[in-house]
């Protein structure tokens, strides 16, 4: 413990100076900007800036890129909250309650909770990375495919809470998402599936155009349908003011829980921040005394989504640094950055390059502190978009969505996908079908299929019921799925009796 703290002190010494702090600040600012622009994912933002780090020292390069990673994960939430356009897939969950809060005129709360939950989650992730990286990464590697499958199934049970009263519709929407996910190359046998002769579908449906379409375009089309040119303008957003410390203090347990969930899920390679956000949001809704407020503007929902999303950054770094296995696509880019600088991740890295490793750990605290500053002053600017006249805002969201979906792979096909899902999102919203289960299905589908197939190939059907951990996870999933249905029926019966 003492040596750990000594090393951490050395890490802070490494990054103490104007140049490292400026580089971290630059990274955070670029990350926030990249994350806020739909179509620029955290991994893309890190990859785009990777070439400019070639001439830097390895430590400076890694701390700057980590700053981008941290900033981008938060940046995605800004547009999710302000205009219901998630900048990153993981920010989709933030939009569930962030945007309704803005619509209720509580934009300061939405932005504030999103920012401070991100910072809290990021710090929790960094602490876990520092203190538990080695044992946690070993434990995660002991997970078998059947356990991964059961973990994904647990993620799917969030449908039961996402759907609320419309759980049947939510379940159908989720399965629709899972089915759409089977398009493209089969992940195990490389068989072309449901591509309809379209080469662009070989990689399946891309996530970001779907997200932008379902959430941003769906919302705008719905608003256009109910657009009244003579309606008076709103000044709800003009009164933007972030709440005081006591407001966030009330949400401390939500942030801590979600940060921990995010970090733990982030450790599992391939799981990532999006799954973490869904799981943390679901857990928070289940634990809440007012679950009915979720989806309508619950600050705890924003806190859970953002804290888990940021917590997953530290989690994704655990296997990357200790085993050389990236926990997320952005961690994979960071891994390649390490290799470009002739550094091999693993236990040896901690011995050979302690300055770099502990400098990186220290930089995560600095990056989160700088993010708090940049977010505090910057979000006031962002949230003003809500005050823009609708005649400008709606066309701009449309243009932003088209641009965002185009810029991912410079493909008009992605723009088409975005528009199709925009129409689907509009119909879903109009007829009370929740869109988030479709995203959940798309997020979990591939991982589920891969692990389902691997389990069957390795140990047959027995693989699903012979390992105690798998069975436990299945039992929890079943409980999570059945409990809300039973409790809703009980409530209805009680109401009828009364």
């Amino acid at each position: 413990m003492t040596s750990l703290l000594q090393n951490l002190g050395m890490g802070f010494q490494t990054i103490a100076g104007v140049v490292p702090v400026v580089l971290i600040l630059l990274g955070v600012c670029i990350g926030i900007l990249g994350g806020a622009i739909p179509g620029i994912s955290p991994s893309m933002a890190v990859a785009l800036l990777l070439p400019i780090t070639y001439t830097m020292s390895p430590t400076m390069a890694i701390v700057m890129l980590t700053g981008i990673y941290i900033g981008a994960n938060y940046g995605g939430s800004i547009t999710a909250v302000a205009i219901n356009t998630p900048g990153t897939p993981s920010a989709a969950v933030t939009a569930f309650d962030g945007y309704p809060l803005v619509k209720l005129g509580r934009s300061g709360e939405a932005m504030g909770v999103s920012l401070w939950a991100s910072v809290t989650g990021g710090i929790i992730g960094a602490l876990i990375l520092i203190f538990f990286s080695v044992p946690l990464s070993r434990a995660a590697l002991k997970f078998w495919p059947s356990e991964y499958f059961a973990l994904c199934l647990m993620g799917l049970t969030t449908v039961a809470t996402l759907g609320g009263k419309n759980w049947q519709k939510a379940l159908a929407a989720c399965l629709f998402g899972l089915l759409l996910n089977t398009m493209g190359m089969d992940p195990v046998f490389s068989v072309k599936r449901f591509t309809f002769g379209v080469n662009r579908l070989y990689d399946g449906i891309k996530m970001v155009p779907v997200l932008i379409g379902l959430f941003a375009l769906g919302e705008v089309l719905h608003n256009l349908e109910h657009y009244d040119p003579n309606a008076p303008g709103t000044d709800k957003l003009a009164n933007y003011k972030m709440p005081g410390f006591s407001y966030y203090w009330k949400l401390r347990w939500s942030m801590i829980r979600a940060g921990l969930i995010g970090c733990i899920i982030g450790i599992f390679p391939g799981a990532g921040g999006t799954i973490a956000s869904f799981l943390a949001y679901d857990a928070e809704k289940r634990l809440s005394k007012h679950p009915e407020e979720f989806g309508k503007g619950a600050p705890a929902g924003v806190a859970a989504a953002e804290a888990s999303n940021s917590g997953s950054v530290g989690g994704a770094m655990v296997p990357m640094l200790t085993l050389g296995i990236p926990g997320s696509s952005t961690a994979a880019v960071l891994l390649s950055a390490l290799m470009i600088h002739n550094l091999n991740p693993g236990a040896e890295l901690f011995i050979r390059e302690p300055g770099l490793v502990y400098g990186l750990f220290a930089s995560m605290f600095v990056a989160n502190a700088l993010m708090a500053l940049v977010g505090f002053f910057g979000s006031k600017l962002w949230v003003r978009v809500g005050g823009i006249p609708k005649t400008i805002l709606y066309p701009l969201i449309f243009a932003f969505s088209i641009l965002g979906s185009y810029s991912i792979s410079r493909s008009l096909f992605d723009v088409g996908t975005c528009l199709v899902f925009g129409l689907i999102g509009w119909m879903f919203k109009k007829y009370d079908y929740p869109a988030s289960p479709v995203v959940l299905g798309l997020v979990l589908g591939r991982l589920m299929e891969l692990n389902f197939s691997q389990t069957l190939m390795v140990s047959g059907v027995a693989g699903f019921y012979t390992r105690p951990l798998t069975v436990t996870l299945f039992a929890i999933s079943l409980l999570c799925l059945v409990y809300p249905v039973i409790s809703a029926r009980r409530r209805a019966r009680k109401q009828r009796r009364e």
Partner: protein
Amino acid sequence: MIERLSAWLTGLGYQWILLGAVLLLGVLLALFRASPRIRPVTGQLMVLSGMCVVTLIFYLLTFSLRVSKMAADSGCTARTIPRLWCFLMLLASAAAFVSILKKENRPDSAFGRWRLALGVAVGSIFSVVMFQFMGYYLSSAVFLVTVMWAMRERRWTYLVLTPVCWVAFTYLIFDRLLYIHLPMGALFSGR
């Protein structure tokens, strides 16, 4: 029989499959509208039917998916998971169908200014098609002005400044900073 149908479906272009799906949905719409009991929830049932039609197409197509001997021996092929989701979708749809018919959900809300919304969606498709001819910048500027005009914006400062600022923003951020070159179109690239 079903394999033959699947092979025939696989051989069809996506346009024909899409047309078939639209026709099938049209028939279902007519059936739903004909029943006074179902009419108030037609929209909800049509969304569900749309998902079910996609499921049906996917299910039929699974019969044409290639199965290697190794996959068959392992008990899991490329067909397994899509079929599992199709089967579960059948159950979920049945549950949703019953729930909608039992009027556990609200009746469909009436359409508002749907022509404006649909017009903007179609306009955006047209704008995307025009990328190849007019280029991104001009096409998006025209799109912005058109939508603003359709939304009854008449202040000329807004109508001019919004597309100009948008074009400047996209050029500076995407083209100059991120090196994401947006289409210039045949009009400006001389092709």
